[in-house]
Subunit: 535 residues, 2 copies
């Protein structure tokens, strides 16, 4: 039995016959999977947020934009530095990329310097004009578009690389630099950005930091709270907080920059960034395993931390339901002869290809011999690496073709991760909306970043259904809260999740957050109607 | 030439004849090097801080401790949970381990639960009794001892491990757990703490976090801002802020816990900790190189990041002056035949000994062939690893035997690091206090963590001398500020450096820090006279 398994691995480890998988373009990696808290259907029209989610009331204390205001802003950014009262040109700034949220701003400002951002904010604070900072507008919770007529302050004009120290690998740059541009620039120097995500071609590093983006490299390089060394931030009153440290160690006072990492533009506008970048790995390997249970997924993960240790750079999983959903809408290559209840994708990145190959092969053989994995394949070249990753990345698009999907992005202690999925399936069955041919719910699909304890839970349905909604929420949030999880692992709160914050944070925490907000933005002009619960 | 160098490496790489180096006990690694801002001499008597550094005035708004207060505290912690009015028993809580600072507290409280800490703080806040939180009291800037009669709140009674998730490696523990106890406990599970420092046998994990301890593993595992996942903090008014998350990803609101990392007990008392722990490396190597210039040190560091990459776990340096200082007071083994202007100690930690050996050997040979290093040796076993490390760790004790030492712990962009040392030597020569046989300054000695841009600069003198002090300060702080450095890389501010904060942080930053302090501790009862400048 063991011998035959080992032979199977040996055969599989050498596979070179993967044909390209027929996938449509525009696939976003899992880190960019839309999560709209409630649900979305394949609606194409972009209605206004305030019409879609009734209950929002424009704050009376905000001034309405006047011609004089616009003239003043022109004196700061020039005639070409703004878009005013032009519905078509304003549309992409008023609407998120999923066409889920839409605001009614009449004005987009495009400053080119930190001083211009400061001048704008000083005026807005004096005049009580509400402002939404906007980076690449690739967010998933409506955090970067207005709700009413807030002025959009786009950072796209602040796009210069400020400096790079090739000894320490510390990069300083304007906040509006596109992540991929920075990564490509660093590639020539043998370095890379410590984060990677599907939206990298559009998202700004400032936006990444403002939303504390997680993404695909977090397992290896850690969160932005560790890699961001300094920030330049314009406070709501226009004050420039210069904390552009390029030091790995600096114990002189409260680490104020940390507050802005993940603050979603509610207490200041990030204009400059200092970040520690790792060396680009010379060797990258990707393997795929088929497994029988989530227990085995956990065993495989635990062992990978021991055997692959310092070269492990991703450990992703999906269930058979996710694969079947993919197959329903596309024709992915059958990489393995048989299907398995679970799959894990393992990536290693290191400085020595031979060493990494040896470690990975030994690990994979151990997984087979120990009966943890049932089957396994290893990519032999760049193309096959992309093909294996495209399996992991195809679920989002496939789910998008379902009539309706209830999408969630949660984190939990790893051992509880799949229990949540199984529990939800049973709960929906018990509720009479799942399990029969005419059930509203057609499938419950799970995939995610095991290494980060981050689950993307997707409930596919043949229609949006109030009974289904009522069964899922607040049931799921309560389940997550009961198991010390987070209702938003990486996508943030924005306008979509702010009212649910109480499921992940205590009243004491929320009270302190509100004190912080009030202290830094007493007029409440920064990105209103979002992030914190309204009461 | 190349061939002979290679042979030399080959010979050296196999050295097995290191005899034990005769060192005194109690050596602290560099991370624990005392830095007293001004200076210290070999004074043995422990005078009171307020006598030594005149100018402190007890805040009038603090209540003086009464018998009724003590009775109330007894009702919380019991008769055995406090030390009152017993000079001898109070002494170790009133005095730091270097016997540099000394307070006059009459009362030490030793709560055993978070609730007791909360009850104590609630009362102290109501009564305006000032409090100093104290962990292992291993700090270097007087942050953990009182200045006047502040109550010492010791966390030593909160010393339970709360839980460990062996899949994700996330540990939760009381703040009063000793770092080494946690590390040993994790060792049995194949894990390790992500930080290590000389004081590990005494320091508490809560204190480490409150001071944002750097230490020896920072290069590899990053700062506590990245590895600490959650905190439980008792706020100055007794409110318990429960943020004991065990999640790697959680984007629900401001990351409040970050504020407490490095806050030195000025805005709350850390009572519980959740921290991500890495797997313990199976293979550890240590090598020592001799080099001709700091340019070469930088080249060696840059190349180590490429070739050793994911296994590099320390890159330390010292200059010949440091080695000579060591030899003046001890008899370290001559590891190399010749002396060199600079030395670097390189440590690798990985999961596969053969792979690591190969990477390190290749790297060392490249350094020799490229003429970057002049000589190199590699430890062959645990004993030799300790012997090489003890070279790096011996400078502190040696310097302590000098009549007087002016000590600094600064960080800067790596390329500027040694320029600072050379500039200081010239500056002291120009000032007429260094370079002649009868000069007050006998040597300027440098060592530190190249990988972290962290320099320990030590100016040895045959006496404390006002002319020398005036030449060093504020000259050095200005130099550091001019090069975007930090006047305290890892030791914090405490009572020793708070008045110098302006050299590393802007007035805007300091103002915001003070606002934060006032918001969280409106009565100012937490660790007064420290951390922030008095005006």
């Amino acid at each position: 039995m063991l011998a035959s398994r080992l032979r199977l691995v040996s055969k599989r480890l050498a596979f070179t016959t993967l044909r390209p998988i027929a996938l449509k373009t525009c696939i976003k990696p899992a880190s960019a999977v839309p999560n709209l808290v409630r649900s979305y259907s394949s609606e194409k029209q972009v209605s206004y947020t305030v019409d879609k989610f009734p209950g929002y009331v424009r704050h009376e204390n905000y001034k309405k934009l006047s011609e004089q205001d616009v003239e003043y802003f022109k004196s700061i950014v020039g005639d070409n530095g703004l878009i005013y009262n032009n519905e078509d040109d304003l549309f992409p700034y008023n609407t998120d990329w999923m066409h889920k949220f839409r605001g009614k701003s009449q004005l987009v400002l495009k400053p080119k310097t930190t001083q211009q951002v400061s001048d704008i904010m000083k005026y807005c604070n004096q005049e009580k004009l509400a402002v939404v900072p906007q980076g690449g507008n690739t967010g998933l919770v409506g955090g970067s578009v207005p709700v009413f007529d807030e002025i959009v302050l786009s950072l796209q004009g602040l796009n210069k690389i400020r400096g790079f120290d090739s000894v320490s690998g510390i990069l300083t740059a304007d906040a509006g630099c596109v992540l991929e541009v920075l990564d490509n620039w660093l590639a020539e120097k043998g370095y890379m950005m410590p984060l990677d995500l599907g939206a990298k071609g559009s998202c700004h590093i400032g936006g990444n930091i403002a939303t504390n983006a997680g993404g695909l490299r977090l397992l290896r390089y850690g969160s932005l709270h560790g890699t961001v060394l300094g920030l330049e931030v314009v406070l709501p009153d226009g004050t420039v907080l210069d904390n552009m440290s390029t030091l790995r160690k600096d114990n002189t006072g409260y680490d104020l920059k940390q507050l802005f990492i993940g603050s979603e533009g509610t207490i200041g506008i990030i204009t400059g960034v200092s970040i520690l970048t790792p060396h680009r790995s010379k060797a990258v390997n990707v393997a795929l395993l088929g497994l029988n249970s989530f227990e085995d997924v956990q065993k495989a993960f635990k062992q990978s931390r021991i055997e692959l240790s310092e070269i492990l750079s991703a450990f992703e999983f999906w269930d058979i339901n996710a694969l079947q959903m993919f197959k329903k809408h596309a024709t992915p290559k059958d990489v393995m002869q048989n299907e398995y209840p679970f799959y894990v994708l393992i990536e290693t990145s290191g400085s020595n290809k031979d060493h990494d190959d040896e470690k990975l092969t030994t690990y994979l053989e151990n997984m087979m011999v120990d009966g943890v994995a049932e089957d396994g394949v290893v990519a032999q070249d760049e193309t096959q690496i992309r093909e294996l990753w495209s399996l992991r990345e195809g679920f989002t698009e496939a789910l998008g073709k379902e009539p309706a999907v209830y999408k969630y992005d949660i984190s939990m202690p790893v051992p509880k991760l799949y229990e949540c999925v199984q529990d939800m399936r049973q709960h929906l069955r018990d509720g009479g909306v799942f399990g029969n041919q005419d059930s509203a719910v057609t499938d419950v699909v799970a995939y995610g970043h095991v290494g980060d304890g981050n689950l993307h839970l997707n409930i596919a349905a043949n229609r949006l259904d109030n009974q289904v909604s009522a069964l899922i929420e607040p049931y799921l949030f309560e389940w997550v809260a009961k198991h010390q999880g987070s209702i938003s692992a990486e996508h943030g709160l924005g306008v979509a999740k702010n009212e649910f914050l109480g499921y992940s944070k205590s009243p004491v925490m929320i009270k302190m957050m509100k004190s912080m907000k009030n202290m830094l933005d007493p007029n409440g002009i920064m990105n209103p109607y979002k992030y914190l619960p309204s009461n």
